[in-house]
């Protein structure tokens, strides 16, 4: 699999053949299977999938946050250096400095017994040469930047004194402390209410513009993808099944799963009609069907789908899809167009 030819830029992050396996009592489970994608400077890439699709594990594998018995293979090139094989010490200098990460549940990602201000300063201490006074000043600036009101007073507050939205803002402030070039966001708004989600999404986009970051956005919500991402990669059963520009994927999906997913979301103008649902449930990673993993749920499936794993190929300019019948899927049209 190659970088998208239409993009003349060099990618900031280049993931190739990323494979993450876990040894469990039920045998070897491949959570991420030969995943490859590029993230270009200043771009927001959406990694979309349902539970068990491997989207979060992919994100964690990039940061090498996979613990034993998990094993990560393949390569993750960050500005020419491979994060997968890099020594731990060197990786620590990149983690939290050049690449930052925010999580779905900020309450568990923040240390509950340390004031938020101190947690921001800790990150500054680890990754910047600032002195004590400089760190406090920068921490204040960051809290202002992410829209935490009365920043000076709140520096000494503990995470439990923050609301869900404010906690996510604090988490973002911590991750931005060292001016990262890449932000990995793992469902950062899933636990939030819709008006707060809207605030956080717009904050991330604004910060991305101001700081010139790239963002990888893991989400299950196609609405969030439509509102924030430039390109998207759809994952199913640990594999990428389709990638492309968001507008073009929404307008003409070329994988049956992407099409089903789009059709599953209720849209305006079609009230009280049947949704285009996908039968069955996503497979357990311990029992992925042979051939195309989506074939038991797919209305386009034929004999070949049950035996041959479709490769992720370029099916149209700047679009990759792993579907034997991408032409038929494309011809069926988008449920949201």
């Amino acid at each position: 699999m190659s970088a998208l030819p239409s993009q003349a830029l060099t990618p900031a992050l280049s993931v190739r053949d990323l494979t993450t396996t876990f040894v469990t009592s039920a045998g070897r489970v491949t959570a991420v299977d030969n995943v490859g994608f590029d993230v270009f400077p200043g771009e927001v890439l959406g990694l979309v999938g349902e539970s068990g699709s491997g989207k979060s594990v992919t994100l964690r594998s990039i940061m090498r946050l996979i613990h034993a018995p998990g094993v990560v293979g393949g390569s993750v090139l960050w500005q020419g250096r491979d994060l997968v094989t890099m020594p731990e010490r060197e990786l620590r200098r990149i983690r939290g400095a050049e690449i930052a990460m925010i999580f779905q549940e900020p309450m568990t990602a923040l240390n509950p017994v340390l004031p938020v201000g101190l947690q921001i300063e800790e990150n500054l201490k680890a990754h910047t040469p600032l002195d004590r006074a400089g760190r406090t000043k920068r921490a204040l600036e960051l809290m202002d930047l992410v829209g935490i009101p009365e920043a000076r007073r709140r520096l000494s507050d503990y995470p439990h004194q923050f609301s869900g939205g404010m906690r996510q803002r604090a988490m973002i402030a911590i991750s931005l402390a060292s001016n990262p070039k890449l932000l990995l966001a793992d469902e950062p708004t899933t636990a939030l209410d819709v008006t707060i989600q809207d605030q956080i999404l717009k904050l991330i986009l604004e910060l991305k513009r101001e700081l010139g970051m790239s963002v990888v956005f893991v989400t299950h919500d196609l609405g969030v993808v439509a509102a924030t991402c430039d390109r998207m990669a759809v994952m199913y059963a640990g594999r990428i099944v389709e990638t492309g520009e968001v507008a073009s994927v929404f307008a003409k999906p070329r994988h049956a799963y992407t099409r089903g997913l789009l059709g599953s979301v209720p849209r305006s103008g079609a009230e009280r009609t049947m949704l285009l649902s996908i039968d069955g449930t996503p497979p357990s990673l311990a029992a992925i069907p042979p051939g195309c993993p989506f074939n038991p749920r797919c209305s386009f499936a034929t004999e070949v789908c049950r035996t041959v794993v479709p490769p992720l190929d370029e099916v149209s300019p700047a679009r990759l899809a792993a579907c034997h019948h991408h032409d038929r899927v494309a011809a069926a049209g988008s449920p949201v167009a």
Binding site: D279, P296, R297
Partner: protein
């Protein structure tokens, strides 16, 4: 629209595999108790001698081919007495705990469901019982009622139910907040049905596990009372009575006391292992 097969179907093969994956502590405990039960049911088939037969030619005889575990001051065979005591000591384990378990579980379920002032009153009862040393309390009750096994069962039951009730009440309190309990209420089911049909089966596990430990403790307690002369009365074969029999000969004939002690330890271990195993089994099968 078709529905895919559920992710975890129970095929016969899997069920067999699950049986093989039983916790090893459970298997070990079950084997020990099964052997104990056989000894309790058929002592005359296994014991070489009558447990009350006096052999004046072998007073305080050390372990030998004739008396494998030696003999006591009356020339009674220690092995035969230990084996014949299984019946009585297992009976103590069961009779001393079953009433407490039954009453405790029922009261605990009701208290946990009711909450409010009922729970507050119960909490004070628990405090009162827990702050008083258990053994002293039982001895006091037996002293009032008079020595003997029946009175010991009553004494243990009067005190012991509190521990079961506390465990069950705490668990029911957690379970009653779950949606399936509300679902029962929305269905218009009566509280007693919700408590005993829905909440109790999901709350009883800690009580069952504790019950196993409690049976081991009951044997120890029975032996202690037997030793003090407040439990089983001589000449009955009972481990505590046997240990008491040997106390004057500890320096010359250690076997009289030590082997009943070993039997207590092994049986107690059996119950404890079974309890641990059950805890593991019931926890993993959610």
């Amino acid at each position: 629209m078709t529905v895919a097969a559920p992710t975890a179907t129970t095929t016969p093969r899997r069920r067999r595999a699950r049986l093989l994956r039983l916790p090893s502590t459970l298997i070990a405990g079950a084997i020990i108790l099964l052997v104990s039960l056989l000894l309790a049911l058929f002592p005359q088939l296994i014991a070489p001698y009558d447990p009350t037969a006096f052999d004046y030619n072998a007073l305080l005889a050390p372990p030998s081919a004739a008396h494998l575990l030696g003999s006591d001051s009356f020339g009674r065979d220690v092995l035969s007495r230990v084996i014949h005591a299984y019946g009585l000591d297992l009976q103590i384990a069961v009779f001393a705990t079953v009433p407490a378990f039954t009453v405790g579980v029922i009261v605990g379920a009701l208290v946990g469901y009711a909450g409010g002032w009922v729970e507050a009153v119960f909490g004070r009862v628990v405090d009162a019982v827990i702050t008083f040393p258990f053994l002293v309390l039982v001895i006091a009750i037996v002293a009032v009622l008079g020595p003997g096994l029946t009175n010991m069962y009553i004494a243990v039951g009067v005190v012991g139910w509190v521990f079961y009730a506390r465990l069950v009440a705490a668990e029911v309190k957690v379970q009653k907040r779950l949606d399936y309990a509300d679902a029962g209420r929305v269905m218009g089911y009566r509280p007693l049905r919700i408590i005993f049909r829905h909440l109790l089966p999901n709350s009883i596990t800690p009580a069952i596990v504790y019950w196993m430990t409690d049976m081991a403790l009951a044997i120890l307690l029975g032996s202690s009372l037997g030793y003090l002369g407040l439990g089983a009365q001589p000449p009955a074969s009972e481990w505590g009575v046997q240990i008491a029999d040997g106390k004057n000969f500890m320096n010359t004939a250690w076997w009289i006391s030590v082997f009943p002690g070993v039997a207590i330890v092994i049986t107690g271990l059996g119950f404890s292992l079974l309890g641990d195993g059950l805890a593991e089994l019931l926890r993993t099968r959610k």
